[in-house]
Symmetry: C2
Subunit: 235 residues, 2 copies
DNA sequence: AGGAATTTGTGCGTATGTATC
DNA sequence: AGATACATACGCACAAATTCC
């Protein structure tokens, strides 16, 4: 089995920065504070912060200029955990976390049978947090063709990380469908969402040149606490 | 003007490793010595070596496995200074260096007029070393359209580095032509090469989607000291 | 099976170099 | 020319993954 532990600090940092930039709270062209100052504020060593900044730069969201500073570059799409993580706290901030409720291998519902080549799927149900705030419930179907068994322990806070490192899968497209039907077998009762606030999105993942859509996920989120930002949605 | 200094140590290290792998002296699957041991032998800090190894891994030539080791992965083409640097000492090894003899802006010879859109070109003449061994003379024509002035001080040991960082140019293709005519105005007399040992190659460079071939270079090398390895040559 | 040894990963702190302002 | 800020490099301690006995 895999680790239960948290993601490395430098990744958490880079993801947080990417998130801030992608969400627009760090506007294009903004200069970040000096690294040492920033590291002090965040309570990390300079080297750790630098590793995170290098990450962000590699993803094209930051210009690092020696002798000058670190400048935000706004880009629409990013190769990151948060490229497709688009739940935002209304007030901003909040490091994304997830708590896995269950992972079960089940026959795929008829509606998703066409996605992926296998009859079974792993049904993952998670609670999603931003900081300490519970903002959403999520149900994900991952085609069983990618892996025979998936345990709760395999999944870190970042599903994307799991896809990338454990399954060698890359997310290639996301399609949003507002108002998708809620499945009858799991209507979350803890959330009282107005109609139309339920969002389903199909996440297509692929390994190398394969084209199978192999994951499907639906999210019920609390519109009173978070907003759903759709950059590629089709309405 | 730019720096005259050497490339950073970690880049020198990664390029050396890439070179060893590309040349086949580090075979596929080979496990490198432990990092600390390797760092001691090379006389560098572990962190510096690790940065170099990360570089090599990013280029797909190395598998780094925690708790196990660093494993060589053989790949045909590499995004590196040495992807197109194919002079090899017969005995192997030797960090590539170059000494620029001259840089002059001149009208491009008729033979290369078609390469690039400008009438002028920068003619760069260099001595190339592997380690301390002088192995080749080289003449490069860089289309003046990319930059008005090029000084000796602009050029580091790695032309590729200069292209990438100063001109934002990427080498996209290389075509070798064995036995290309030696220009009458600069037949190197210090080398006595048998006929047919002269190698010319056209290096096509481009910025983003531009397709202009904008550089031409010819190399006279000492067949007694080095070999010319052509991976993409057309004979 | 399981614990010790090995090896890479992460994180910290610091000193010095180099580019920019 | 001086101050500021990022880049490189070093060394250390501990964590995590693997391998070996």
């Amino acid at each position: 089995m895999a680790q239960t532990s948290e993601l490395p600090k430098f990744i958490q940092l880079s993801e947080m920065l990417i998130r801030e930039i992608a969400a627009g709270r760090l506007a294009d062209g903004v200069r970040l504070p000096p690294e040492r100052e920033m590291a002090d504020e965040l309570g990390v060593a300079v080297g750790t912060l630098r590793k995170a900044l290098a990450d962000v730069e590699a993803k094209g969201l930051l210009d690092r200029v020696q002798g000058s500073g670190n400048y935000v570059r706004h880009r629409p799409a990013v190769d990151s955990v948060y490229a497709f993580f688009r739940l935002e706290l209304l007030q901003g901030g909040g490091l994304p976390k997830a708590k896995v409720l269950s992972v079960d291998r089940l026959p795929k519902p008829a509606a998703f049978a066409a996605l992926g080549g296998h009859a079974d799927g792993h049904r993952i149900r998670r609670l999603r947090f931003l900081g300490e705030v519970l903002v959403a419930l999520e149900e994900i179907w991952l085609d069983a063709g990618w892996r025979d068994e998936v345990g709760v322990a395999d999944l870190t806070d970042s599903l994307y990380y799991f896809y990338r490192h454990e399954l060698d899968l890359v997310i290639v497209a996301v399609e949003d469908r507002i108002g998708i039907d809620v499945l009858p077998d799991w209507t979350p009762s803890a959330f009282h969402l107005p109609a139309g606030e339920t969002v389903g999105h199909i996440t297509r993942v692929s390994r190398s040149a394969a084209k199978e859509a192999a994951e499907f996920s639906r999210t019920w989120f609390d519109a009173g606490r978070a907003t759903y930002i759709s950059r590629m949605g089709k309405g």
